[in-house]
């Protein structure tokens, strides 16, 4: 089965880096990469309530810019590495980034979104700075891999994925599928990290831990615990200490790990993710 991967781009350095990371991560796999550029005509929305329609010169100009940008991007990729496993499709969408992603995930049956981030809050007109966080929260139907601007996928480097969890919620196999498949693909052990708040796990937590054991039996994994430290700082220290490759989280409502995404934490500890974050979602069905 082909992987169907969505790569939103604003033609910035960040989004180019995310694309490069994606191409390396999926080097050996048959993939269709959907390169998505969303364009909007902001200045019209502030001056007037009437948005330019297709056919109007302003719209046509923006659309052309978007399409040319995507064509150039694909040319650049093919020039860099012509991988017969990889196919590209370009989507130019007159929409907000969030809605364009939502629509594409639905229409193209996307299995993974890979996007860049600066890792810190940027000026408002940079699409993927502050927006990455927003998109991680709002897009519910596909896992998202957020790649910081200086992350490089090195084939030779030994890798491991840190999966931070508090064992408080039950995860289904499907919710964890993207983690398991990436771990298999890059032959990375999964380090399951728990920041301990209480001395002992509750019976429910033990059960959830057991189900993880079951799901992850196809890959190598180990359990780790840190205490006396806040979740954000603990996860950060763990990754920094070990030089781990990637952080995986499940985004659930009322989940303590949400604090990793939250702005206040970013501000408080200056936590700037240096590794890609795989955000998985609660699936309700």
């Amino acid at each position: 089965m082909k992987n169907r991967i969505l790569i939103p781009t604003d033609f910035s350095e960040n989004s180019w880096n995310a694309l490069d990371y994606a191409l390396n991560l999926f080097k050996e796999d048959k993939c269709i990469f959907y390169l998505l550029n969303a364009f909007q005509l902001y200045h019209f929305t502030t001056d007037s309530i009437i948005l330019p329609e297709p056919g109007e010169p302003e719209y046509e100009k923006a659309r052309e810019e978007s399409e040319i940008g995507l064509e150039k991007l694909i040319d650049g990729v093919i020039m860099k590495s012509d991988n017969p496993n990889h196919h590209f499709e370009m989507i130019s969408s007159y929409n907000s980034v969030l809605d364009a992603i939502k629509e594409t995930v639905y229409k193209k049956d996307i299995s993974l979104i890979i996007m860049g981030t600066k890792g810190e809050t940027n000026s408002a007109n940079t699409i993927f700075g502050s927006n990455a966080e927003n998109i991680m929260e709002k897009i519910q139907h596909s896992p998202i891999l957020v790649v910081p601007e200086d992350a490089v996928f090195l084939k030779e480097k030994k890798k491991e994925i840190v999966f931070a969890t508090d064992f408080k919620t039950y995860y289904s196999y499907r919710e964890l599928q993207s983690l398991i498949s990436i771990a298999k693909r890059i032959e990375a052990p999964v380090r399951i990290l728990h920041i301990l708040e209480n001395e002992k796990l509750t019976p429910e937590q033990e059960e959830n831990k057991d189900s993880l054991r079951e799901y992850l039996k196809e890959v190598l994994y180990t359990f780790h615990t840190l205490t006396h430290i806040k979740v954000g700082a603990g996860v950060h220290s763990f990754i920094e200490s070990r030089g781990s490759e990637m952080l995986a989280l499940i985004h659930k409502k009322h989940n303590i790990l949400n604090s990793i995404f939250s702005k206040s934490l970013v501000d408080k500890v200056g936590y700037k993710p240096k590794v890609p974050i795989l955000a998985m979602h609660e699936l309700n069905d």
Partner: protein
């Protein structure tokens, strides 16, 4: 031949420290000096306030100590035979620290290895009063404190915690360097960033350290946004390191770290051996 001092009170902790040391030095020619300091009703040579016990009592205690050491050596030789290892028994009626210092004057000692209780029990018990006294007062020889619940397995990684604020001499790291070569161990230098980046003098000290430990597999790490004890704890726990080492300095933050009851339940410091290096730096 290396001289290694093993103070023992014949306890389980001391025994574990001996086993750890034998294993650590299994490929080295060593002279192990087993030291027992005995006392009778609290009396030591030099004590002014305790009545001098009768000769008979003295002789009896001395004999007990000597016999104990002889038995210990026999057990070691039988259970852990190694043609490269030689054993000597020394009995003193000095307080422990003085007995150790007496030996340091007589012989060129490579390292002192002591046992600690490990992570069971109260904090004060983890590092017993003797351990604290030795770490605090012996200043001329590296000290390795081995918790009783640590079995020896190959040492793969030693964490050298350093603020990089003190300019050390090459000699301060001599033992660590030898140990790293001997056990083929990598050293991770850990610095907890209190401010952003390193100052000029910290950078210089870092370069010095690199040159002192030339040839060793060396890596530098820093953690930010955590306090020093928590940062060191997280680092060791996250990586599963095998030993923690630092250079002793009076009133250093490590003193606080090791002996501060605030961190008594940071089990980790009591889970892996702690190597205290001495400094000649001012």
């Amino acid at each position: 031949m290396k001289n290694i001092l093993l103070p023992t009170d014949f306890s389980q902790n001391a025994w574990n420290a001996i086993l750890y040391t034998l294993h650590m030095y299994k490929n080295e020619s060593c002279k192990f000096i087993l030291l027992n300091s005995y006392q009778i009703n609290g009396f030591h040579y030099g004590s002014k306030f305790t009545p001098i016990p009768g000769n008979e009592d003295m002789e009896k205690e001395k004999k007990n100590s000597e016999n104990g050491l002889q038995r210990l050596i026999e057990v070691i030789k039988k259970g852990y035979p190694n043609p490269k290892h030689h054993f000597f028994a020394v009995t003193h009626n000095y307080p422990l620290v003085e007995a150790i210092e007496h030996e340091l004057e007589q012989t060129d000692i490579e390292v002192i290895v002591i046992g600690t209780k490990g992570s069971t029990g109260a904090y004060e018990v983890i590092y017993g009063s003797n351990t604290i006294k030795i770490m605090d007062e012996v200043e001329s020889c590296p000290i390795l404190a081995v918790p009783s619940n640590v079995p020896f397995f190959e040492i793969k990684e030693i964490v050298l915690a350093s603020s990089l604020e003190i300019t050390h001499n090459e000699k301060d790291f001599q033992y660590l360097k030898k140990l790293a070569f001997q056990t083929n161990t990598r050293i991770c230098v850990l610095h907890i960033e209190e401010e952003d980046g390193l100052s000029i003098s910290q950078k210089q000290n870092k370069h010095l350290l690199e040159s002192y430990l030339e040839g060793v597999q060396l890596s530098f790490h820093s953690l930010a946004h955590v306090s020093v004890p928590i940062g060191i704890y997280c680092f060791i726990e996250s990586r599963g390191s095998d030993m923690i080492t630092f250079v002793n300095k009076k009133h250093s933050f490590f003193e606080k770290l090791l002996f501060n009851p605030l961190y008594k339940d940071l089990g980790n410091y009591s889970k892996i051996p702690v190597l205290v290096l001495q400094t000649t730096a001012k």
